[in-house]
Protein backbone atom coordinates (compact mmCIF):
# COMPACT_ATOMS: atom_id res chain seq x y z
CA UNK A 1 0.00 0.00 0.00
CA UNK A 2 1.04 3.52 -0.67
CA UNK A 3 1.38 5.89 2.18
CA UNK A 4 0.65 9.24 0.70
CA UNK A 5 0.95 12.28 2.83
CA UNK A 6 3.82 12.99 5.12
CA UNK A 7 2.42 15.58 7.48
CA UNK A 8 4.39 17.09 10.32
CA UNK A 9 2.88 15.63 13.49
CA UNK A 10 2.25 19.01 15.07
CA UNK A 11 -0.31 20.05 12.46
CA UNK A 12 -3.82 18.80 12.04
CA UNK A 13 -3.78 17.29 8.55
CA UNK A 14 -7.44 17.95 7.77
CA UNK A 15 -7.20 21.66 8.46
CA UNK A 16 -4.01 22.07 6.55
CA UNK A 17 -5.46 20.18 3.61
CA UNK A 18 -8.56 22.34 3.53
CA UNK A 19 -6.47 25.52 3.64
CA UNK A 20 -4.44 24.19 0.72
CA UNK A 21 -7.60 23.32 -1.19
CA UNK A 22 -9.04 26.80 -0.55
CA UNK A 23 -5.93 28.37 -1.96
CA UNK A 24 -6.19 26.25 -5.10
CA UNK A 25 -9.91 26.18 -5.74
CA UNK A 26 -11.37 29.10 -3.80
CA UNK A 27 -15.13 28.88 -3.40
CA UNK A 28 -15.20 25.43 -5.06
CA UNK A 29 -12.75 23.86 -2.62
CA UNK A 30 -15.28 21.86 -0.63
CA UNK A 31 -16.88 20.44 -3.76
CA UNK A 32 -13.58 19.38 -5.27
CA UNK A 33 -12.46 17.90 -1.99
CA UNK A 34 -15.67 15.88 -1.73
CA UNK A 35 -15.20 14.52 -5.25
CA UNK A 36 -11.60 13.58 -4.56
CA UNK A 37 -12.55 11.95 -1.27
CA UNK A 38 -15.25 9.86 -2.95
CA UNK A 39 -12.79 8.61 -5.56
CA UNK A 40 -10.15 7.97 -2.95
CA UNK A 41 -12.60 5.86 -0.97
CA UNK A 42 -13.28 3.67 -3.98
CA UNK A 43 -9.58 3.32 -4.61
CA UNK A 44 -8.81 2.39 -1.01
CA UNK A 45 -11.64 -0.12 -0.90
CA UNK A 46 -10.51 -1.75 -4.11
CA UNK A 47 -7.00 -2.00 -2.72
CA UNK A 48 -8.25 -3.61 0.49
CA UNK A 49 -10.30 -6.09 -1.49
CA UNK A 50 -7.85 -6.97 -4.26
CA UNK A 51 -4.46 -6.30 -2.69
CA UNK A 52 -2.96 -5.18 -6.00
CA UNK A 53 0.78 -5.03 -6.54
CA UNK A 54 2.60 -2.45 -8.59
CA UNK A 55 3.17 -3.31 -12.22
CA UNK A 56 5.86 -3.30 -13.31
CA UNK A 57 7.54 -3.93 -9.97
CA UNK A 58 10.26 -1.39 -10.73
CA UNK A 59 9.20 1.99 -12.18
CA UNK A 60 9.97 2.38 -15.88
CA UNK A 61 10.96 5.99 -15.30
CA UNK A 62 12.24 7.57 -12.12
Amino acid sequence: RVERSVEPPTERPGERRMAEMKKLYGAEAAKIQAMEAAMQLIFDRNCDKKQPKYWPIIPLKL
Partner: protein, 92 residues
Protein backbone atom coordinates in the same frame (compact mmCIF):
# COMPACT_ATOMS: atom_id res chain seq x y z
CA UNK B 1 10.15 11.62 -6.48
CA UNK B 2 7.70 14.45 -6.94
CA UNK B 3 4.06 13.82 -7.57
CA UNK B 4 2.67 14.97 -10.87
CA UNK B 5 1.35 18.46 -10.74
CA UNK B 6 3.25 19.79 -7.80
CA UNK B 7 3.35 22.89 -9.95
CA UNK B 8 -0.12 24.00 -9.07
CA UNK B 9 0.54 23.45 -5.39
CA UNK B 10 3.49 25.78 -5.12
CA UNK B 11 3.80 28.82 -2.92
CA UNK B 12 2.83 31.07 -5.81
CA UNK B 13 -0.74 30.05 -5.24
CA UNK B 14 -1.16 32.60 -2.51
CA UNK B 15 -1.28 35.17 -5.28
CA UNK B 16 -3.83 33.34 -7.37
CA UNK B 17 -6.84 35.41 -8.27
CA UNK B 18 -10.40 34.24 -8.08
CA UNK B 19 -10.36 33.77 -11.85
CA UNK B 20 -7.45 31.37 -11.65
CA UNK B 21 -9.08 29.44 -8.82
CA UNK B 22 -12.32 29.25 -10.75
CA UNK B 23 -10.61 27.98 -13.89
CA UNK B 24 -8.63 25.45 -11.88
CA UNK B 25 -11.76 24.18 -10.11
CA UNK B 26 -13.67 23.86 -13.37
CA UNK B 27 -10.85 21.94 -15.07
CA UNK B 28 -10.33 19.69 -12.05
CA UNK B 29 -14.04 18.92 -11.72
CA UNK B 30 -14.25 17.97 -15.39
CA UNK B 31 -11.20 15.75 -15.02
CA UNK B 32 -12.55 13.96 -11.94
CA UNK B 33 -15.89 13.41 -13.66
CA UNK B 34 -14.27 11.92 -16.73
CA UNK B 35 -11.94 9.74 -14.72
CA UNK B 36 -14.69 8.44 -12.52
CA UNK B 37 -16.85 7.78 -15.58
CA UNK B 38 -14.10 5.52 -16.89
CA UNK B 39 -14.47 3.04 -14.04
CA UNK B 40 -15.01 -0.50 -15.21
CA UNK B 41 -14.51 0.34 -18.86
CA UNK B 42 -12.08 -1.52 -21.08
CA UNK B 43 -8.99 0.61 -21.41
CA UNK B 44 -5.84 0.60 -23.48
CA UNK B 45 -2.77 1.76 -21.64
CA UNK B 46 0.39 2.98 -23.30
CA UNK B 47 3.54 2.97 -21.18
CA UNK B 48 7.15 3.99 -21.77
CA UNK B 49 9.11 1.93 -24.24
CA UNK B 50 6.13 0.95 -26.38
CA UNK B 51 4.55 -1.26 -23.72
CA UNK B 52 0.82 -1.60 -24.32
CA UNK B 53 -1.76 -3.12 -22.02
CA UNK B 54 -5.43 -3.78 -22.26
CA UNK B 55 -7.26 -3.83 -18.97
CA UNK B 56 -10.45 -2.67 -17.37
CA UNK B 57 -9.98 0.53 -15.49
CA UNK B 58 -10.42 0.04 -11.76
CA UNK B 59 -9.92 3.17 -9.76
CA UNK B 60 -7.49 6.01 -9.47
CA UNK B 61 -5.67 7.47 -6.55
CA UNK B 62 -6.14 11.06 -7.58
CA UNK B 63 -3.65 12.21 -5.00
CA UNK B 64 -0.62 10.21 -5.98
CA UNK B 65 -1.78 9.55 -9.52
CA UNK B 66 -1.75 5.78 -9.17
CA UNK B 67 -4.11 3.85 -11.37
CA UNK B 68 -5.52 0.54 -10.33
CA UNK B 69 -6.42 -1.92 -12.98
CA UNK B 70 -7.00 -5.64 -13.27
CA UNK B 71 -4.33 -7.37 -15.31
CA UNK B 72 -4.69 -10.90 -16.51
CA UNK B 73 -7.24 -13.08 -14.82
CA UNK B 74 -8.42 -12.09 -11.37
CA UNK B 75 -5.31 -10.12 -10.83
CA UNK B 76 -5.28 -6.50 -9.91
CA UNK B 77 -2.34 -4.24 -10.50
CA UNK B 78 -1.35 -0.70 -9.73
CA UNK B 79 0.08 1.37 -12.55
CA UNK B 80 2.24 4.33 -11.66
CA UNK B 81 1.27 7.52 -13.43
CA UNK B 82 4.94 8.14 -14.16
CA UNK B 83 5.12 4.88 -16.12
CA UNK B 84 2.09 5.79 -18.21
CA UNK B 85 2.10 7.96 -21.29
CA UNK B 86 -1.52 7.69 -22.31
CA UNK B 87 -4.63 5.62 -21.74
CA UNK B 88 -7.96 5.53 -23.51
CA UNK B 89 -11.48 4.14 -23.28
CA UNK B 90 -14.34 3.77 -25.71
CA UNK B 91 -17.19 6.24 -25.28
CA UNK B 92 -20.63 4.77 -24.78
Amino acid sequence: NSRPGENSRGSENSRDSGAVQKARAELRERFLRLLSGARGRPGRFCLWGGIRLRADFGAADVESGTLQTPLGIQRAALLRSGDLLEFSFPLE
